[in-house]
Symmetry: C2
Subunit: 306 residues, 2 copies
Amino acid sequence: MTSVVVAGAGSIGSLLAAHLARVAEVTVLTRREEHAATLREQGLRVSGRSDFTARLDATADPAALPADARLAILACKSTGLEPLAARLEGRLPQATVMTIQNGLGAEEIVAAHGSWPLLSAVTFMSGTRHGDAHVEYVLDTATWIGPFRGTSFEDARRVAELVESAGLKAEAFHDLRPAQWSKLVFNATVNGVAALTGLPHDFHFAETERPSDLGHLVRDLVDEGRAVAEAAGVDLHDDPWEMNVLATRRGHRHFPSMLEDVEARRPTELEPINGALVRAARRHGVHVPLHTAVYRLVKAKEAGYS
Amino acid sequence: MTSVVVAGAGSIGSLLAAHLARVAEVTVLTRREEHAATLREQGLRVSGRSDFTARLDATADPAALPADARLAILACKSTGLEPLAARLEGRLPQATVMTIQNGLGAEEIVAAHGSWPLLSAVTFMSGTRHGDAHVEYVLDTATWIGPFRGTSFEDARRVAELVESAGLKAEAFHDLRPAQWSKLVFNATVNGVAALTGLPHDFHFAETERPSDLGHLVRDLVDEGRAVAEAAGVDLHDDPWEMNVLATRRGHRHFPSMLEDVEARRPTELEPINGALVRAARRHGVHVPLHTAVYRLVKAKEAGYS
């Protein structure tokens, strides 16, 4: 069996690690040794759309990672990527490294810490962590994978097949940017609005009946994002407005991570998501007053934590 | 002594009632009989910039108000004005009625319930209620008064003199709209941003150093508001941006009422403030994307209470 490292055991990392452990030798890199010990001793339970307990190895020490790992998935949040990449510097000599963070810029952060071949990914699946050794598989939507540096479509396809064989949904792309930007525009809009209103991603986000309805603002934000993508030469893979409408019809109240972060007064992914979009707009000379406002408002909200 | 009714005993109503009780026969109209009883028995204590306990009459029954009252100040929040005016219908035959609510439209609401001569007021003073019978006088800034219907500048001047003789600051205006609109633009901006960010009105609102700074958004919102005033033919009495900068330098953390309202999950004054500004913009053909966004975001925040 091929050896795979999954670095970061939040909900996405846990879902990937547990499923991949059915078809590969998985080692999870955690931040806390206590977390690694729990995973080694109890395994990692998946409930929800899957139902099994995976046996896998885990460590909090990058030096203990298997030197023969062929794939390393960096599954931490954007806010944790820079320190994680630094911890991996000089390690995993045989691995292709795959990022899966929200927003833009993850690949560049990792590229600065080593010469690994790199794959990009965006994921639309979701889960809820119920503890260090238990994750609930909530949305069984796909993970999309594309080449970034020193990799080809074939490499992306092989990893997508591995993920599929593990029981998750995955698809390989020749160019991931159209999908990445669709999710960027979607996330900048939905996460920002949720963080400011305190609303989960519910029906309000698609309402456009009365002039006061929130859906108008969501659509205007999507339109601004679309203009930035166009100026950046990216032909969006999915319409973020349709993604929004579909998601609000799923019937369960999804709490965007930025809303959870501001409610817990944690640092948010504002910079790699909304900040990245606003900066791309400036670079390409696109006027995005609404995204700039949302960005400044969430930034100020974070400034108020102290 | 002249007989004065103060309807509503929140912080502004309490400050007015207690001070006016030094120079007039004051009757406070409360919503709760228990509140009226406490005021009758204990009087109304003022601390902070004034320090005394006023003796005054109080009732929760509009029928018990003195028929010879010459002045009635409606000092409830905008959200309570319609039911209050309805309770006063057919009463106070000799009174001039003065509104003092935030935003626009208070005079019209009262005018629909009786033929009283009407005065408009805006107040910049502030207080903190510490209980039914105790209010702290915090900011000793002025109350501005102008004629509205069936009244003249002379009437406004007489009331301003009465308020001044009671130990508060007041000034009469020939036309109150320039002052009212300055406060409208200021309030729509500062209250909206505070409600969304969770920040009290502090230094962040005037910061314009980095592109991410909140002051840029505040200034853009003020500029939109200024354009609406101009289109409405109103020459602002004060520059709302300067009002903002000055207020953030006062050195005490002021919590705008809309922030307090959303934190307590109470209805806010969004409609008479931000809603009024957005509707005026539409009426006059002025594009106000940022105020429209703030309005929709706070509206959605309120929708999330349930």
